[in-house]
């Protein structure tokens, strides 16, 4: 498509959203993917929404929903001379209760940023005298890769690779959000990458049980606008169907092989979501046959309690109950250079996205 045609297409999609929303009641649409938060802002789509359509950011940033206790355990491990921490970049700057991996690295801790779980395996092979601990966080997008890494390490008889389990499962979180009494969510923009693994059909039970429409959406502006248009039309017509607007990557059934891998290595476990408390079956623990890969057992550490810095409202932000600007710390004590909570540190956190792309006053 030529640039001019592409622009015209975008303008039509924006009009389509406005048309669909005209005369409809006020509605709140939640996206549950950190990348969506950032893309909606970065592309300017968020600025194009009609006044009665509110886009709220839910708990879609895996770093933001990782409890403080997990971060503290990671920092404790980083301090050990025999440990190399392998982590996704986002985790490095997140403050735990009193420390961060970035600060630990400044004091000489071995903290390596990796792009995938397989890099952690390579690191372990290349450093036979040290223990590599991979910080396994993320939703279903990254979990299969961690499972594959564990399977590979097992097959290779690697004795020095461990994971600190922190993966989360999306559906229980959506249920928790919708079953809350004061839930004001009218529909979901479903995360594109997670849906590649789960499949569009995975959202049907939620749509049916709670009567909320769900549309799977990608990350290009045109696709996001298309998806928002479909969602607005459904809400206006009181429908509750699951639609897939990201058919180029997402199928009805998703990636069964990836799910099988997850299932082979992990089992559901109750897990602490930062500032949301413990949600049953929302996390993943290593199955007994892979238990030796759990860094907690190997090093004798536990996840500490969650900790909410005074005044921090990250929990309410990630549940979509408030916008970042409602938090008293936003832009004052809490900014990207001096973050209090993970929503500001993570590049996909809601507060970081707001601060970066939207803040108009200081």
């Amino acid at each position: 498509m030529s640039v001019a045609a592409s622009n015209e297409n975008l303008r039509q999609l924006v009009s389509a959203v406005a048309d669909a929303a005209a005369g409809a009641r006020d509605m709140a649409l939640m996206e549950i993917c950190g990348t969506h938060t950032v893309c909606l802002f970065r592309s300017g789509v968020k600025s194009l929404m009609p006044t009665n359509v509110r886009l709220i950011s839910g708990p879609g940033c895996p770093v933001c929903v990782t409890s403080c206790g997990y971060l503290d355990a990671a920092c404790e491990l980083a301090a050990r001379k025999d440990v190399i921490i392998a982590t996704y970049g986002d985790m490095v700057r997140v403050p735990g209760r009193t420390d961060s991996l970035e600060a630990a690295r400044g004091r000489g801790a071995a903290v390596e940023v990796v792009y995938s779980a397989r890099d952690a395996v390579k690191l372990a092979r290349g450093n036979p005298g040290r223990n590599v601990v991979f910080l396994a966080v993320g939703f279903e997008t990254t979990t299969p890769a961690t499972a594959a890494a564990v399977i590979e390490a097992e097959a290779a008889g690697l004795k020095n690779l461990f994971i600190l389990p922190g993966h989360k499962v999306l559906m229980p979180a959506l249920e928790a959000l919708l079953s809350a009494d004061d839930s004001a969510i009218d529909g979901f923009l479903c995360p594109g990458h997670v849906s590649v693994i789960l499949g569009a059909a995975a959202y049907r039970p939620i749509a049916q049980k709670y009567r909320k429409p769900c549309v799977v959406v990608g990350f290009e502006p045109a696709n996001m606008l298309e998806g928002i248009g479909r969602l607005v039309r459904q809400v206006a017509a009181s429908q509750a169907k699951v639609e897939n607007a990201y058919g180029v990557a997402v199928t009805e059934g998703g990636n069964a092989q990836a799910r099988a891998m997850i299932e082979r290595v992990f089992e559901p476990a109750a897990t602490e979501w930062r500032a949301m408390g413990s949600i049953p079956a929302s996390g993943l623990a290593l199955r007994g046959c892979y238990a030796r890969f759990d860094a907690r057992a190997k090093f004798g550490i536990e996840f500490g309690p969650d900790y909410e810095p005074p005044g921090c409202r990250c929990g309410e932000v990630i549940q979509g109950r408030i916008e970042p600007t409602a938090c008293g710390l936003f832009g004052v004590k809490c900014s990207p250079t001096t973050p209090v909570g993970p929503c500001m540190v993570s590049s996909e956190g809601t507060c970081a996205a707001w601060y970066k792309y939207n803040r108009r006053s200081r």
Binding site: L10, V14, R42, D119, T142, P221
Partner: protein, 350 residues
């Protein structure tokens, strides 16, 4: 990450050998290193006396001076290396002042274990870049530090230049409606360096744009238009530069996303890595603010130069404001604020 000192024997080690601590001791090994591998490549009249300081006849008028340190990893990447970067980075800081570079100083800090073949290649690059930029290395220093796995080499430079009476451009004359010009495709250097890092496994055609900008700047100034501001968008990228500028002049700046020149390869690499191309470093680009009436003329002059073929007007200077913002008109027709990046850009999690 490997604790082993590469100065120890290793299969595949080059014929030339490696730097050892004694190379920095000031004795025979130092003399030989300089005489065989460093000085011949830099030969020029200012350097020739090899005195403790270089003697330079000052030009009439004012002098411009800049300093820079180079710690890039890896040392070699598509399109350049730390040597080329050191020369171009230094002369470009002088060029965007409208000054004519005269001489550079070159301080090398080599790490024990550095492959001498790498040193040779870097010195060749320095020589070539200096010739290309029309500048000489007048004085230098070489030290060796113990092995710490710190990457092999760092370079510190200083540069001096003659500043014409009507330079540097006066940003105080910038007013609403002035055009913001970018001399070509952005983000290439930063992405070329990132993708060259081991372990990423990304193959790309991206090549660093590192180049000396003196010729391009001269062409732009020779067009006879009112150029009110020039800078090269290095660390922090276009976003960092424009944010700094908007704060300096107390005015909003509006940029059209679709006008920003970005190659498909750079767009894709940024998306893969989760980076905003506006925040990625450039080492061969100029950003200029030009009076509205002269914009086309300066743009044409820029495009007439080999380094400026893809030059574009990307936006306009806006109204004065107590809280100046840089705003992007997005391809989707929306708006968002551009801010300087927060330092180390971290790869996305999923």
């Amino acid at each position: 990450m490997n604790d082993n000192n590469p100065a120890a024997d290793e299969p595949g080690v080059t014929r030339a050998g490696r730097i050892v601590l004694a190379h920095g001791g000031g004795g025979e090994l130092t003399r030989r290193l300089l005489a065989e591998r460093i000085l011949p490549k830099l030969a020029n009249d200012l350097l020739a006396p090899l005195a403790d300081s270089a003697v330079i006849d000052p030009p009439p008028g004012r002098l411009c001076m800049t300093t820079d340190a180079f710690v890039v990893q890896p040392l070699e990447f598509a399109g350049g290396d730390i040597g080329r970067l050191a020369v171009c980075g230094t002369v470009n800081d002088l060029a965007v002042m409208g000054a004519k570079p005269l001489a550079l100083s070159l301080a090398l800090v080599l790490e024990e274990g550095l492959d001498l073949d790498v040193l040779d290649r870097v010195m060749d690059s320095i020589a070539a870049a200096a010739a290309e930029a029309g500048v000489v290395v007048a004085t230098g220093d070489t030290k060796v530090v113990e092995y710490h796995g710190a990457g092999g080499m760092t370079i510190t430079t200083a540069g001096i230049a003659a500043l014409p009476a009507d330079m540097p451009p006066d940003a105080k004359t910038i007013t609403a409606g002035d055009a913001v010009l970018v001399s070509g495709m952005i983000a290439e250097h930063g992405l070329a360096v990132m993708t060259a890092r081991k372990g990423l496994g990304i193959r790309t055609t991206l090549v660093s744009d590192v180049a000396p900008l003196g010729g391009l700047v001269n062409a732009m100034l020779a067009a006879g238009g009112r150029v009110k501001f020039m800078r090269d968008p290095t660390r922090g990228g276009l976003a960092g530069l424009l944010t700094d500028l908007s704060e300096q002049i107390g005015r909003n700046i509006e940029i059209d996303e679709q006008a920003v020149p970005l190659s498909p390869a750079a767009r894709h690499a940024s998306e893969l890595l989760g980076l905003d191309p506006l925040t990625v470093a450039n080492e061969g680009k100029v950003v200029a603010v030009v009076a509205a009436a002269d914009a086309e003329k300066v743009l044409a002059a820029c495009r007439s130069h080999p380094l400026g073929r893809a030059a574009v007007i990307v936006g306009r200077i806006g109204q004065a404001s107590d809280w100046p913002l840089v705003e992007l008109l997005t391809a989707a027709g929306g708006r968002r604020i551009v801010q300087r990046p927060y330092g180390e850009e971290l790869p996305r999690i999923c």
